[in-house]
């Protein structure tokens, strides 16, 4: 066995969910041109294995490697796979405000490749809806998008890719399942490898091995035509800042989450005092100038909030870095500080506007980090993470004091 043929390895892996050990001493090796189907009753740990292979779940013992390189181990190390892989989660991992083509383009961008999607979408009867928002699609159509996104890394690659599919048939109509089976077979023949969790008999026939989590059994898979790679071109990968900016710009989530709060703070300040009566109170005026940007930043990272939909955050974290809102807090903070400077100081100073802009960015990034840190909890929205945010008042008040002294 050549090491370059090994696409996925589980070495004596133990995984817990809740307080129970779900997977114990599990070992598995998947080679190029293999389709391994995990088959077993509900709750036996099929999805757990898929999610561990995608580095979404931590492991207690052992390690998991992709293409011969460790991607997660029991010491908590998580390394980004050197080769892109395909992933379809049970809950799709889609953001409703993306169009079909935008989501699939994001996946292709992670693979640093691009192709014409129309022929692929046509095979799943989605070509006429490529520019529709995902939130406007039916459940079955959303599932198709999620499955295509999972298959894409293999569809546009000449070298073997690993594809992880969790219950890909769930919600698909008969035609779509048959198309999926045809694609799995043809991509296998092109050298790609699959790990699939399913109960569907038609997908079981595509398997080269069936694993019931205790033992493997080999079988003769169904045959088909080898996958013909469409015309592809190499593109640069979108970084997390660009993707975050696109999400934020498109959904206006930054304005809805942060901007409105900043303007409300400004409105409340104006309802309390008349700016011209603050003439001799420079420290207070400076606080008022920087407060709207600070409040806007305290509302957190709007992109992180957006990605909590349908486990999109997990999907992004598995595939690449988490998209973050970086550019819009800078712009939003500058706009709010410019307005409040004009109102309370009667003039505009670039240093104050930069301070307001950085204030919004810093707060938004810190709170985004706090939000991400609780993402692995069962109920991340129920945790009281914002109790820790008052500490941000300290650096804010230091900035206010320093700027007051400077002016």
């Amino acid at each position: 066995m050549n090491m370059s043929d090994v696409l996925l390895t589980f070495e004596s892996v133990e995984i817990r969910r809740g307080m129970s050990i779900v997977i114990s001493d599990f070992s598995l090796t998947i080679l190029s041109a293999e389709v391994v189907v995990l088959h077993g009753e509900n709750g036996c740990g099929k999805s757990t294995i898929i999610e561990a292979a995608a580095r979404i779940l931590p492991i207690e013992k052992g390690q998991i490697s992709q293409h011969g390189k460790m991607v997660i181990d029991s010491d908590g190390r998580r390394m980004m796979p050197t080769v892109p892989f395909g992933l379809t989660l049970q809950q799709n991992g889609l953001v409703g405000s993306d169009t079909i083509s935008e989501h699939l383009n994001n996946m292709m961008s992670i693979c640093k490749m691009k192709t014409n999607l129309a022929p692929i979408l046509k095979q799943y009867s989605l070509d006429h809806r490529s520019n529709d928002l995902i939130s406007h699609l039916s459940g079955g159509q959303q599932r198709k998008v999620s499955v295509i996104a999972g298959l894409l890394p293999a569809m546009i690659s000449k070298s073997p890719r690993l594809i992880l599919l969790d219950e890909p048939d769930a919600g698909l109509d008969d035609d779509a399942v048959q198309t999926l089976c045809r694609h799995i077979t043809s991509l296998r023949l092109a050298g790609h490898a699959f790990l699939i969790a399913t109960h569907d008999e038609r997908i079981l026939k595509c398997a080269t091995r069936i694993n019931n989590l205790n033992q493997d059994s080999e079988q003769e898979p169904q045959q088909g035509e080898i996958w013909q790679i469409p015309k592809i071109e190499v593109v640069a990968s979108n970084n997390f800042i660009k993707v975050g900016f696109t999400y934020n710009f498109k959904t206006k989530a930054g304005f809805a989450n942060n901007g409105i709060a900043g303007f409300l703070a400004l409105g409340i300040l104006l309802s309390l005092v008349e700016p011209f009566k603050l003439d001799n109170l420079l420290g207070l005026k400076m606080g008022f100038v920087l407060l709207p940007a600070f409040v806007a930043g305290l509302c957190g990272d709007p992109v992180v909030n957006l990605l909590r939909e349908n486990r999109a955050l997990d999907w992004w974290q598995a595939n690449t870095a988490t998209p973050r809102a970086v550019i819009l807090p800078i712009i939003g903070g500058a706009i709010l500080t410019t307005i409040s400077s004009y109102i309370f100081l009667g003039n505009l100073q670039i240093i104050i506007i930069i301070a307001g802009s950085l204030c919004a960015l810093f707060c938004s990034l810190i709170i985004g980090l706090l939000q991400l840190s609780t993402n692995k909890l069962s109920r991340p929205q129920a945790v009281f993470i914002r109790l820790l945010t008052p500490i941000l008042i300290l650096p804010w008040s230091i900035v206010v004091n320093e700027l007051t002294a400077y002016i």
Partner: protein, 233 residues
Amino acid sequence: MGERIRIGFLGLGFVGIMSTLYLGFMWAPSVAIDAFESPAAQKIFYWHVPSAWAAFIAFAVLFVGSALWFFKRSPTGWRLHIAGAEAGLATGLMTVWSGTIWGSAEWGTPWDWSDVRLNTFGLLTLLALFLVLGRRSQPDGIETRDTFSTFGLFGFVLVPFTYIATRIWVIRHPGPVVATGTGGSLHSDMALVLLIGAISFTIFIIGHILTSMHITKLEQRVEMLQREIDRSD
């Protein structure tokens, strides 16, 4: 650890704390009339400083417990984490609450957002509140324990930071009165009452931690029995 020992610690600590308050208010000398803006409010010192001392012990327990769970997966470590967070919350609130009363009388404001020491201690107390409330909002599991123990470890970074802050960034809050390395500036009677207070709070917090660990152990036992019943059904 036997029930009598736990109750003994709590009882002895409670009596000691009450004695400290009595001695502080009735026996210890008052500060010079021109030494403070509000000399009468200085008596809060006998509650404020020992409770802050006890809070640091609780936060140390929280750190040790978090580390034991995070690195060793020790069930005792998790119980220490819970006990440390609960004790840290109780003593942290005692310190912050008494400090704000003293601050109102002495400085004219209950809180100073630009004082590093106040804010880092406030954050430690909020961290304890976050851990106590957050744990109750989540089902017990490996992800919950890992996440909260990570925050427990992070919180302890603030302890040496707060310690250093008391020496570097003294803005409003006075510098340390004990462990200054110069013999201190307290009257011997004041120092004696303060020492009794620190010992009493230490004994009380040990009793609190032991009781909390015992309660968590019982809760875990009930949960295990419930799971066994679920399986047998």
